[in-house]
């Protein structure tokens, strides 16, 4: 029964992917991509990776989808790039199928029993007082990756801002719509946003021991922020706003500060003070979540339009 479900899910995934790749129309392809992301989220649940499922749906499908939809809207209806020579199509198909087949064979041929670090993690996790092994890996054992991933996120925002017409990257990003928000949007923003913020904070809190964590929470918070912007409930902040920038920096540099503090408390960079691991980790997660939420939201909003003349 579950095998049948998995098979159907896989086929749907494949159909979704083919739909994205084969569709000529940009908007339809993006919509298909969002659907593909949701299906992928289901696949993650089936693979006992609820943390990943949440991340995939929130980031890979949700926020990415919003970014891509905005992109489609900004592009001219008729793309100027000529399609590759259609004669290449069979060749491309052959190459792709060959790669897929080889890869499939490689995956099936992976050794049994599978090598795994699960045992190592299980041994080391109790010392951190965390219940969720994925959070343990992300924030303790491979904290360097996570720290740098925060820098990547910040850097991609810098990259987006660098596309501003203003070399100093000042001012507010253009509003999502030039017209005032329709009443239902405003209503939704007013009602849903507080609940959503609560959900986001819950995800953060739960992440220590259950699926969830900074990224999933940050994505939900960012979505709530965007909802408020779309509902005309808050104004898009100017990028040079000092408070905003502090929020951007809180995550990566709060994390970095904790890393340095580890030298004093645990004798090693990115070590946690013995006994207070969980508290410090949650503090780090709060800072990270704040930054992620703000960064994701600003990435969706795009480059600032330059200093306003007031």
């Amino acid at each position: 029964m579950s095998l049948l479900f998995d098979a159907v899910l896989c086929l749907l995934l494949l159909a979704g992917a083919l739909g994205v790749v084969a569709t000529g129309a940009a908007r339809a392809a993006v919509i298909a991509f969002i659907g593909y992301g949701l299906l992928l989220g289901l696949a993650w649940v089936r693979l006992a990776a609820v943390d990943v499922a949440l991340t995939e749906i929130a980031i890979g499908s949700g926020i990415s989808g919003v970014v891509l939809l905005r992109c489609v809207r900004a592009l001219p209806a008729t793309p100027k790039a000529p399609a590759p020579n259609p004669l290449l199509r069979p060749l491309a198909a052959m190459v792709s199928i060959a790669i897929a087949v080889a890869l499939g064979a490689a995956v099936l041929a992976l050794p049994e029993p599978a090598p795994s670090r699960a045992a190592d993690v299980a041994t080391a996790l109790p010392a951190t007082d965390l219940g969720n092994p994925v959070t343990g890996v992300l924030l303790v054992f491979r904290a360097l990756d996570t720290l740098l991933e925060k820098v990547v996120l910040l850097l991609s925002l810098v990259g987006v801002w660098a596309l501003s017409r203003d070399p100093a990257c000042r001012g507010r990003p253009d509003p999502l719509s030039l017209e005032p928000a329709p009443a239902p949007s405003a209503f939704l923003a007013r009602v849903l946003a507080p609940v959503g913020v609560l959900v986001g904070l819950y995800l953060l809190w739960a992440g220590a021991d259950h699926p969830g964590g900074a990224f999933q929470s940050g994505a939900v918070l960012a979505a709530m922020g965007l909802l408020l912007v779309m509902g005309d409930q808050i104004r898009i902040p100017a990028t040079q706003n000092r408070g905003l920038r502090l929020m951007l920096l809180a995550g990566p540099f709060g994390f970095l500060a904790v890393g340095f503090a580890g030298w004093a408390t645990a004798g090693v960079f990115l070590g946690y003070p013995p006994g207070a691991e969980k508290a410090v980790i949650i503090a780090v997660e709060v800072a990270i979540t704040l930054s992620i939420a703000v960064t994701l939201g600003l990435i969706v909003l795009g480059p600032p339009a330059g200093e306003e003349r007031s």
């Binding site: 090598p115 054992f141 360097l144 596309l163 960079f269």
Partner: protein, 501 residues
């Protein structure tokens, strides 16, 4: 455990705080300060490695690999780091707002410093490069490569012109294609061995374990790295991106950014892959490298714009390092060590000389208002120091003494001849001829009488001197003795033993 390794990654990031929170001038000064600190840190690492005669290591968070992530600096990595740090510092100085930029008296055409964003990206590059040189975990290296790409792409399009934006987009997309192939290799490796730590993997793979899946994983990772390094025939993005960017950006892109994937390619095949595999893969890279040297060299000769010429020269010069693979992977001790040293010295001297050339070209273009070769006659009179920097940098590309390029060329030639690789020796020589052609073409034009009236501007002298300093750096590398450098052998073969407690 050496804290310097951690500082090498984190110190450049600290410079981001003032850049994002304080005014542009303060931020710029802080950034330059951090770049100088970065040089000090990398020099410290190199000094420790040389003193101790063994690699430095650090287990981040106190968790040793394979569960945790390890950092490790051997001689090769330390040399690369120091080189990159120096280039970044000099480029940063070149890009700063200097005396005269405000008054605009010196430069009628305006040779202003770069915006704060440039310095944010420069510091991020410093972090990413140090990470790429130090990290020993294949996934951390993936993060480092992505960090590098995301810092490099906006550099291409800082001025927001249409050509730059489209070059940046192609660069980004192709780099992403490369990184996703790399990641595919990484997942296969993890599936096979359950670890991503290079030292552990080297031990696990030593006896051909993993079979064809491991081979496929290595191939995928290599292809991804080649795409990021723009190795022929995957160089589609390099000429427009490197020639379109502002000069300071071009300099770091050509000099150091593409060196990180090349470095990792070397790491992959000299430290991770077992020798029999490396001996099979070596010729494949060498063929690509040879094609790059010859083909891109010829295309560089045909260019009509100075910056494009230099960009194609970069695409060609990448090939030299790839010639090293089959030579270094041989079991012929001294000659493979010589090739290894030659390849590394080429990497270093190319970085210094190419940075000098791009900076000089930027100043030349700024002085003349364009970079069309046909209209550059007599620019030697307006921008003598820039032309000198270009020429001295070119000396290294041509492989003429005294320059790092010469020493590297002699070492590669010697190793190739001793191992009977006549075709590699021929390619090295032909590459030198082509480089001579395109470098001298520019120098000759610059020294000619002007065909029309020269504009009434002068080169920005202090910036030209920075370019000249880099060119002299490339020449200084030429005073290396012509024998394998023991420093580069420190910490090989790769192991955590005696590196981590």
């Amino acid at each position: 455990m050496s804290a310097l390794l951690v500082l090498a990654i984190t110190a450049p990031l600290l410079g981001l705080v003032p850049l994002l929170l304080l005014g542009p001038r303060t931020g710029e000064r802080a950034a330059l300060g951090m770049l100088a600190v970065n040089v000090a840190i990398t020099a410290g690492i190199a000094e420790r490695v040389a003193q101790g005669g063994r690699a430095l290591g650090y287990a981040v968070g106190g968790f040793a690999p394979p569960l945790g992530v390890g950092l490790r600096a051997d001689g090769f990595a330390a040399a690369m780091m120091l080189m990159a740090a120096l280039v970044l510092l000099f480029t940063g100085l070149f890009a700063m707002t200097g005396p005269g930029d405000m008054t605009r008296k010196v430069n009628a055409r305006g040779s202003a410093g770069m915006p704060s964003t440039f310095f944010i990206l420069l510091l991020s590059l410093a972090c990413a490069l140090n990470l790429a040189f130090l990290a020993q975990d294949l996934f951390t290296l993936y993060v480092a490569l992505e960090l590098l790409t995301f810092a490099a792409v906006p550099l291409v399009c800082l001025e927001g012109k249409a050509g730059q934006l489209s070059a940046a987009l192609t660069y980004l997309l192709f780099a992403l294609f490369g990184s996703v192939l790399y990641l595919l290799g990484v997942v296969l490796i993890y599936g096979l061995f359950g670890t991503l730590d290079i030292a552990h993997l080297a031990g696990l793979m030593a006896h051909g374990a993993g079979g064809w899946t491991a081979a496929a994983a290595l191939a995928l990772m290599s292809a991804g790295l080649m795409a990021k390094a723009a190795l022929f025939p995957l160089h589609l993005w390099l000429p427009p991106a490197h020639s379109g960017a502002p000069p300071a950006a071009s300099a770091v892109l050509s000099a150091v950014v593409i060196k990180a994937p090349l470095f990792l390619l070397v790491r992959l095949w000299s430290d991770l892959a077992p020798l029999p595999l490396a001996q099979v893969a070596g010729p494949v890279f060498a063929v690509c490298g040879a094609a790059a040297i010859v083909f891109c060299g010829v295309v560089a000769l045909a260019q009509e714009r100075l910056k494009l010429l230099i960009a194609y020269s970069t695409a060609a010069q990448i090939g030299y390092l790839c010639l090293m693979f089959p030579l270094a992977a041989s079991s012929d001790g001294p000659w493979s060590a010589l090739a290894w040293t030659g390849g590394t010295l080429h990497l270093v001297s190319h970085a210094l000389s190419k940075a000098a050339m791009f900076l000089a070209a930027g100043l030349i273009a700024e002085t003349m208002g364009h970079d069309r070769l046909s209209g550059l006659g007599g620019v030697g009179r307006l921008a003598p120091v820039s032309v000198a920097a270009f020429g001295l940098g070119g000396l290294s590309l041509m492989g003429l003494p005294p320059s790092g390029g010469f020493v590297a060329k002699v070492m590669l030639l010697t190793s190739a001849l001793q191992q009977g690789s006549w075709w590699i020796a021929t390619v090295v020589l032909v590459g030198g001829l082509l480089a001579g052609g395109y470098v001298l073409r520019v120098v000759v034009i610059a020294l000619q009488h002007p065909d029309s009236d020269l504009p009434d501007v002068r080169e920005c002298r202090w910036r030209a001197l920075i370019a000249l300093a880099l060119a002299f750096g490339a020449m200084l590398v030429g005073f290396m003795p012509l024998s394998p450098l023991p420093f580069l052998e420190i910490g090989r073969p790769l192991t955590w033993e005696s590196v981590l407690p």
